[in-house]
């Protein structure tokens, strides 16, 4: 359903299934609470948070940001390709998106491995409680996004989408963009700002 405003055709609803958008908004609210909790808890423990943040690997955080942004671009290209009826190219872009998700998790694996090998865990201090909880909660979303896109890719590879029927692909793409959007705030908040 669309309406016309100032000569532009505006869609009534965002791309994909409306149910995924209810889910996306619920996820955004959850991260809003977590980010606010981090920022205001930090206020009461400034020295601890500033000191502990210097122990994080901001290079890993930067690489993961580049990977998620690239994944978001790939899935946007997949949707653009299917809208042009380029089904094979669309499936390849989806596979590339899943690849960036794998890359993200590999970087996270090494990042966590470095911390856990030093005996760091959820109980180490308040900063690391937030760091581990926030980043693991986000990583779970990356995993879920990859799973959703895995199903979308399977259907795309079987020729299940077309220029006229790609609602399911847009649903998966919207979820993946949400995962990227949340990290856009998480990266500077947890890794950079002191």
């Amino acid at each position: 359903m669309t309406s016309h405003t100032a000569g532009h055709k505006l869609h009534e609803y965002p791309p994909g299934d409306l149910a995924i958008w209810v889910f996306i908004l619920a996820e955004l609210f959850a991260f809003f609470v977590l980010f606010s909790a981090y920022a205001f808890t930090r206020l009461k423990h400034l020295d601890l948070f500033n000191e502990m943040q210097r122990t994080l690997d901001s290079d890993a955080g930067m690489i993961n940001t580049l990977l998620l942004i690239t994944g978001s671009w790939c899935v946007a290209r997949a949707v653009a390709a299917i809208k042009a009826n380029h089904a094979v190219a669309s499936a390849r872009w989806l596979l590339a998106t899943i690849g960036t998700g794998c890359g993200f998790l590999v970087v996270k694996y090494f990042e966590y491995g470095a911390k856990f090998s030093l005996g760091i865990n959820l109980d180490t201090n308040l900063f690391y409680t937030f760091y581990i909880a926030l980043t693991m909660f986000h990583a779970m979303h990356v995993l879920l996004g990859m799973t959703i896109l895995g199903f979308v890719w399977k259907k795309a590879a079987q020729g299940g989408y077309s220029a006229h029927d790609h609602h399911g692909m847009e649903t998966g793409a919207s979820y993946w963009h949400m995962v990227d959007l949340v990290w856009i705030i998480l990266f500077p908040l947890v890794y950079i700002m002191r």
Binding site: L10, P14, I184
Partner: protein, 86 residues
């Protein structure tokens, strides 16, 4: 959304990420650097919402909710950091 336009947005987001990382590497945080980092995050988020999520051509209500989330989250973070700098 044309492929070329998406490519331009991707490059802009990559450059903005490297800017944030570079600011973080380059020493002491001041109020100005915190504001710069949050502004970069706002622009990145805006580009993702408008051009990757493709909400640019969706009714204001949906755009408003997601952009409102972005701006409110960043504003609260700014407030918390500003209080910390005092």
């Amino acid at each position: 959304m044309s492929a070329h336009f998406l490519n331009v947005i991707w490059v802009a987001l990559m450059v903005a990420t490297l800017m944030t990382w570079f600011i973080g590497k380059s020493g002491q945080m001041t109020a100005n650097t915190v504001i710069a980092i949050l502004l970069i995050a706002a622009v990145k988020g805006w580009l993702i919402v408008y051009d990757f999520m493709a909400l640019r051509r969706v009714k204001l209500l949906w755009r408003g909710i997601v952009l409102g989330w972005l701006l409110m989250t960043l504003a609260l973070i700014l407030l918390a950091y500003w209080l910390g700098l005092k």
